[in-house]
């Protein structure tokens, strides 16, 4: 490994491909010019991977957009240079820059779901990129596009050419983006958080792919990420940014081994690591006969499709016979890949989707409750969603939003509520003076705290955290997780903690279930599942987790079937149930064939 690195990054030997000097990017807002990125300098050689890491809002994306010449209207490069092969990119006229974009330097964006044009098929989007730069016929371009698709190892590339983005999974879409970016063999590829939106397993594959393509084509890569695990696995050099300034720049091993700045150290410390959870162990709450919530053979189906009479033809078996308990004061985790039904369970528990089977909260069955009964249950179960921005009404001040549950349930007078909201704000580490602000005036982490405050306002017995920390920066994530743990210690609240991030889960849960295709395939205490994973799917998930240690890089794994089996079946066809086996001390594992 190290050999490759030193070969790829000869110290000052050759001219660097990209030389950024004192780059300052500023926004003009109401007549005031404010720098977003200030005095950034770094070099990048051909075939090298440079990672830019840093918390959200530190200017990573702005930097990459500045290089691409795609800055928003009111943002511009105000000083400094970015020389690609000796030519200053920001001062290139738009026409020449356009010719270079896509051909000399290409970019992959963070959101694979929204970065492809939804009404154009994959083939057209690819060939269009090729033909914008090379005077080839439509057919030749299509042939080139096909080659590119093959290169990113998309199954059935011919068929994909004719498909539309929504027909592909997120991972496949990201591969298409990569194919598009690499089709013209650019000298520089900028990948802005290319895997953040993907499942760990898919992330692993995409990272492997990038690395492979790089060795093949010699493209230099700027990889932007906030995930130190990804940095450790892929980068040669790292630039750490904070508030628009470069904090530290070093080869990856040096950075991880001996970070020179406090900020870098703090950043690295906040990274959740697999195996670290054991250190934070606390005694498991006993298996009381009165769980906070109990799910028994819960099933959730969504009917789709329609025949002549408008009856559904197909059925999504989103949740298929799931059973588990959540005990008072415990954190129960649910992990699994996207689409396996985690959120659906959360929704069923919160009464947002109808379910079959039995869900009990505090001993009362959810189904068949009166409106009053439902509302009473609402006081016991609260939910914290993945995206705090989406979960808050953007037109309501956060103070009102946090008081809302109390208003709904008619608790207290206006003053009492105000006092309680102020108290809650303090509890979650916010300043009560901020109560009159709107959600968009807060950072992501702060917003999530607001959501937690709102969830707490009714003193619930159970809080469902559906990917509640996934969208947050590692440092913020750590703070929120600490907050959750603290609240649990203080109030004895239970959590249903849903996440696809194995490292996080390992750090917070007491017990967990691993879900696959709407069913739990392994369930037990944290130590049982992480220490002694018995189901093949569990191991696969664990293996895919990037390790924030550049010295422990994993070799690329062989291909695996990309198409997940679908939970959609024609109506009437039963889905196959797995059978669970207790392999001791409440460690359940599904039987495999």
């Amino acid at each position: 490994m190290t050999a490759l690195h030193s070969a790829a990054a000869p110290e000052g030997a050759a001219e660097p491909l990209l030389r950024v000097r004192d780059l300052t990017v500023s926004v003009r807002d109401r007549g005031v010019v404010r720098p977003l990125v200030a005095g950034l300098s770094f070099d990048l050689h051909g075939g090298e991977t440079l990672a830019i890491a840093g918390e959200s809002g530190s200017g990573k994306s702005i930097t990459s957009l500045a290089l691409m010449g795609l800055l928003p209207n009111n943002v511009s490069v105000t000083s400094g240079q970015a020389l690609l092969d000796g030519i200053d990119l920001p001062s290139l006229p738009e026409a020449r820059m356009r010719a270079w974009r896509g051909a000399r330097l290409a970019m992959i964006f963070q959101e694979p779901m929204t970065s492809l044009n939804p009404v154009q098929n994959i083939g057209d989007q690819l060939t269009e990129a090729i033909r914008a730069h090379e005077p080839v016929s439509r057919r030749d371009a299509a042939a080139q596009a096909l080659v590119a698709l093959r290169k990113v190892r998309i199954p059935e590339p011919e068929r994909r050419m004719r498909q539309y983005p929504h027909e592909l999974s997120g991972g496949m879409r990201q591969r298409v983006m990569i194919a598009m970016a690499l089709a013209l063999r650019p000298a520089l590829l900028i990948a802005d958080e290319p895997t953040t939106a993907l499942d760990v397993t898919v992330q692993r594959e995409v990272l492997d792919l990038l690395r492979e393509l790089q060795t093949e084509t010699g493209t230099a890569i700027i990889l932007i990420t906030h995930d130190m695990g990804v940095v450790a696995e892929t980068a040669d050099r790292v630039v750490v940014m904070r508030q628009g300034r470069m904090v530290e720049s070093a080869p990856v091993e040096t950075l991880f081994a001996t970070p020179s700045q406090d900020y870098t150290r703090a950043l690295l410390a906040a990274v959740p690591r697999l195996g670290a959870g054991a250190a934070r162990a606390k005694p498991l709450p006993p298996a009381t006969p009165a769980p906070v919530a109990r799910l028994m053979d819960v099933q959730v189906h969504f009917d789709i499709g329609a025949n002549f009479l408008g009856q559904a033809t197909h059925r999504v078996h989103a949740v298929e016979g799931v059973s588990f308990d959540i005990r008072p004061g415990e954190t129960f985790g649910l992990v699994g890949e996207s689409g396996c039904g985690k959120s659906t369970i959360a929704k069923a528990l919160a009464g947002l989707v109808p379910h079959e089977g039995r869900v009990e909260v505090d001993g009362k069955a959810l189904a068949g409750l009166t409106v009053q009964g439902r509302r009473a249950i609402c006081r016991d179960i609260q939910m914290v969603f993945q995206d705090p921005m989406a979960a808050l009404d953007p037109r309501m001040t956060v103070g009102v939003a946090v008081a809302e549950p109390m208003v709904i349930h008619g608790i207290g007078t206006a003053e009492e509520r105000h006092a309680r909201v102020a108290d809650l704000f303090q509890r979650v580490g916010l300043n009560p003076e901020q109560m009159s602000r709107y959600p968009h005036e807060f950072s992501g982490g702060q917003r999530q705290r607001i959501c937690i405050a709102r969830a707490l306002s009714l003193r619930p017995k159970l809080i469902i955290c559906d990917e509640s920390v996934s969208a947050l920066d590692v440092s913020v994530q750590a703070q929120v997780l600490d907050l959750l743990a603290e609240l649990q210690r203080e109030t004895g609240v239970s959590y249903l903690f849903i996440s696809h991030d194995m490292a996080v889960v390992e750090n917070v849960v007491d017990r967990l279930g691993v879900m696959y295709m709407g069913q739990i395939v392994e369930m037990g205490t944290r130590d049982q599942v992480f220490g002694n994973p018995r189901h093949s799917y569990t191991t696969r998930l664990l293996d895919a987790v990037p390790i924030p240690d550049p010295t422990r890089r994993m070799p690329p794994r062989p291909e695996r079937d990309l198409d997940l089996p679908s939970p959609i079946r024609p109506i009437g066809e039963a889905s196959r149930r797995v059978r669970m086996r207790n392999i001791g001390e409440e460690h359940f594992v599904a039987e495999e064939d």
Binding site: M68, L70, R98, A99, W100, R101, G102, A103, A106, M107, F109, E111, T114, S115, L116, N117, P118, V119, Q120, N121, E128, A129, A132, H133, Y164, H166, E167, M177, M180, I304, G305, A306, N307, F308, L309, G310
Partner: protein, 306 residues
Amino acid sequence: MAGYLFRRLVQSALILLGVSFITFVLLYVLPADPVRQIAGRSATAQTVENIRTQLGLDQPLLVQYGRYLAGLVQGDMGRSYLQKTEVSTLIAARLPASLLLMVGGIACELVIGLTLGVVAAVWRGRPLDQGLMVTSFVAVSAPQFVVGLLLLYVFAVQLGWFPIGGYGTAAHLVLPAVTLGIMGSGWYSRMMRSSMIDVLRQDYIRTARAKGLTRSRVLMRHALPNAILPIIAMIGIDIGIFMGGIVVVESVFGWPGIGQLAWQAIQRVDIPIIMGVTMVSAAAIVLGNLLADIITPLVDPRIRLR
């Protein structure tokens, strides 16, 4: 798809049934006696009664309606009271002209409205944008009769570019279609503007630019098709709005459509014609909506008909 179509057709038929019933009742209670109109001013009470019986207008409402409906399902829309001709013949003779005008009008409002909307979105916040948005208000507020005459006067009489009214060639269609389309273009430019602004913020536009596409290609191939999607559903609604405008525009330009037929029929309570025109226009609207719903998934592959 077939199932969807089938259900939508049944729904449409029910809507048409509802329309026919309401119209029939409204015309029944309308304070104007068609028999008077038929009988003429020198008629005696006897004659009037004769005619009333002959036409079955002395029957109870539901019987009359039942009879009308029975005819309708066999394609018989009755005979005009005053012209004595089959309503279906009259409508058949005039419908193509109206449809042509309507298609022309929709094309015009789309071309004008969408262009203005796109231009305004691209230059949003600039004086050009604000100017265009004022223009859209002018378009919405301008009475069609005046617009029509103005266009006719300038482009046909003064400049001689187009014939002064009439029907037949493509040149005849231009001015009426523009007149009809101007009001809608005001709406469309506003909707297109906001839709376009929305789309221009999307990630895939950035992707397209990152590919090194020209600005115009990004606009035309990536932004436009997406921005148009929410507009398509509006086109169905439009047909209904056009039914009103058609009366005015047809008379200004001497366009032989059903608008004038309806107008004369309303003035003289020629109930079979009013019913016929109502049913035909309702069918056009229902069909327009259906078409819009069918076209949307063709343009937007994400939408599947259910």
